[in-house]
């Protein structure tokens, strides 16, 4: 095997093994900086040895054993200087675990450890940006370079963000544990937010960009699927996975040949990825079977599922979507949810019903610069035959959008209003 081939294979092993490796080490050393250093040491050793020796049969166990030896060396050095009791205890804990036992013990605990690691990476003591970078690095197995390209920032920025995050966690003595009781739900929300943020970062990057940006969708899906197996009793986790699978199923259909965005109802449903839809609907079922009241992700997934199930746009079950938006507006009231509810109302009960809700949003400060508000209002007005008002709204929307292709589309709609087809 060529050295370059081996390096490619080592990268692959790293992507597969590093989350479990770091999580396993973290359980023993309880410090993310130390755990990651040890894992990196093991990676360096692999890069030195594997090109000659070949990749071992069980590379994960090899990496863990190597990291373990480094850890013991490290503790010995530090205990010679300052023989702290707890470190001696840790050394003993290491020694008691012979390598094969360590591996099987890890196998059982690996899910728990990964889950703990997710909660540490998404700890509220860190900024959202730091949570995202750390999660992609530790759970996604991405390099700082890959994260930097995904988020269009210099690699140094990501590296610094990660270093600072690890320091913050260490200084704040964040425990390596899954939060319990009342704390759990808030902390879980933070984890789900991080994953969905990664997904949306990839989803908003359309054609022409670096492929690593859309790849963030796949990274987020992978993280979500991992989390769903670590925390199978949490309906919102399955809800988020369902939502992402269904949204990802439309990625082929949502951009036209020249890169222009295509709205949901105008998409060619034949291009939707049926495998991902099937996975999304299955994840949604898993959430529903848990029997809890629907949280925001389950509700959004249920809405996405209504679209996914409809063979044509006309088949969409709009009254069900209205009901789901009603429920969503109850638990997470926001002007954006209201705007979406207005669209569903218009589809279910006619443009006037939607317009009444939209009109109540026009004074909403948070939507002042949001191009979809005038865009939706323009659409409803034009359906009501109020073309002069509609034209003004489309022009407003065009002035607000940051997307060139969308602007072109909106200006075209405004132009049509000056000369409506059959007023």
């Amino acid at each position: 095997m060529q050295a370059t081939d081996t390096h490619g294979a080592i990268d692959a092993v790293w992507r597969i093994e590093s989350p479990r490796l770091i999580a396993g080490l973290m359980r023993i050393v309880r410090d993310l900086g130390v755990a990651e250093d040890l894992a990196q040491d093991a990676l360096v050793a692999a890069l030195e040895q594997w090109p000659q020796s070949g990749i071992p049969d069980n590379p994960g166990a090899w990496l863990m054993a190597t990291a373990k030896h480094r850890a013991i060396d490290r503790f010995r050095r530090s205990t010679r200087l300052e023989r702290k009791l707890d470190e001696v205890g840790r050394e003993l804990a290491f020694k008691e675990m012979a390598v094969p036992d360590l591996v099987s013990a890890l196998d059982d605990q690996v899910g728990d450890d990964l889950l703990r690691l997710v909660f540490v990476s998404c700890h509220p003591v860190l900024s959202k940006e730091a949570q995202v970078a750390l999660t992609l690095r530790l759970l996604g197995g991405l390099t700082t370079g890959e994260i930097a390209r995904g988020f269009l920032v210099p690699e140094r920025t990501i590296a610094q963000r990660i270093v600072r995050a690890k320091r913050t966690l260490s200084e704040a003595h964040i425990p390596f544990e899954v939060p319990r009781g009342a704390e759990l739900s808030g902390r879980l929300t933070s984890v789900l937010e991080v994953i969905y943020l990664i997904f949306n970062e990839g989803y908003s990057a359309t054609s022409g960009d670096d492929w690593l940006r859309p790849a963030l969708c796949e990274d987020a899906l992978r993280l979500g699927r991992i989390l769903a197996e670590c925390a199978p009793r949490e309906p919102e986790v399955h809800g988020l996975v369902a939502l992402m699978e269904i949204q990802a199923s439309r990625s082929r259909a949502r951009v036209g040949p020249t890169g222009e965005p295509i709205l949901l109802l105008e998409q060619n449903r034949g291009q939707w990825d049926q495998l991902l839809i099937h996975r999304g609907l299955t994840a949604l079922e898993r959430a529903e079977k848990l029997g809890a009241a629907f949280g925001p992700y389950v509700l959004q997934a249920a809405i996405a599922a209504c679209h996914a199930r409809a063979l044509t746009a006309e088949d969409t079950e709009w009254t069900r979507i209205v009901a789901l938006y009603d429920a969503l507006a109850q638990i997470t009231p926001s002007p954006i949810v209201e705007l979406n509810r207005a669209v569903a109302l218009a589809m279910a009960f006619g443009p006037q019903a939607g317009l009444e809700v939209v009109d109540s949003l026009t004074s909403e400060p948070s939507l002042k610069a949001y191009h979809l508000l005038p865009s939706v209002r323009g659409e409803l007005l034009s359906r009501l035959g109020r073309f002069d008002e509609a034209r003004v709204e489309f022009e407003n929307a065009a002035a607000l959008t940051g997307n060139g292709r969308e602007r072109t589309m909106l200006l075209e709609r405004a132009r049509v209003c000056t000369n409506p087809p059959s007023a």
Binding site: G8, A9, D11, A12, V13, R15, I16, V110, G111, A215, E218, L221, R222, L223, G224, R225, I226, E229, C230, R252, N268, R269, G270, Q271, W272, D273, Q274, L275, H278, R279, L311
Partner: protein, 139 residues
Amino acid sequence: MRFMMLMIPKGYEKAEAGTVPSAEAVKAMMKYNESLQKAGVLLALDGLHPPAAGARVTFAGGKAKVTDGPFAEAKEVLGGYWMIQVKSREEAIEWAKRCPGDDCIVEVRQVQEMSDFPADVQEAAAGFTELQSGQRNKG
């Protein structure tokens, strides 16, 4: 990117109709399947009945001819597949290496995406994804 890991068990070409793997083999395989699932890479998987219960439709000179299994001339036949989503060909191979295979071949093949084709082929294949969904909707 998506890859298929194609399982080609040795001797499956001669297996009798109705042959199913032992509970022990299934147990080992389930552990592997779960590891794929837990790593968030598994999209789909299926196992196939032996060719003895299948049929081949061969086309010679554009004419369809049906032959019932088993197929005497077949040296390697499929026993099942996994569809996985990974970052690289190397990662797909790394997953294939972890399969609890005894006497088998696991072939790793990348799934074609529309974006892999030049513009003229994409145009010719314009209805392909519709076909995929049509087939699945019927199934």
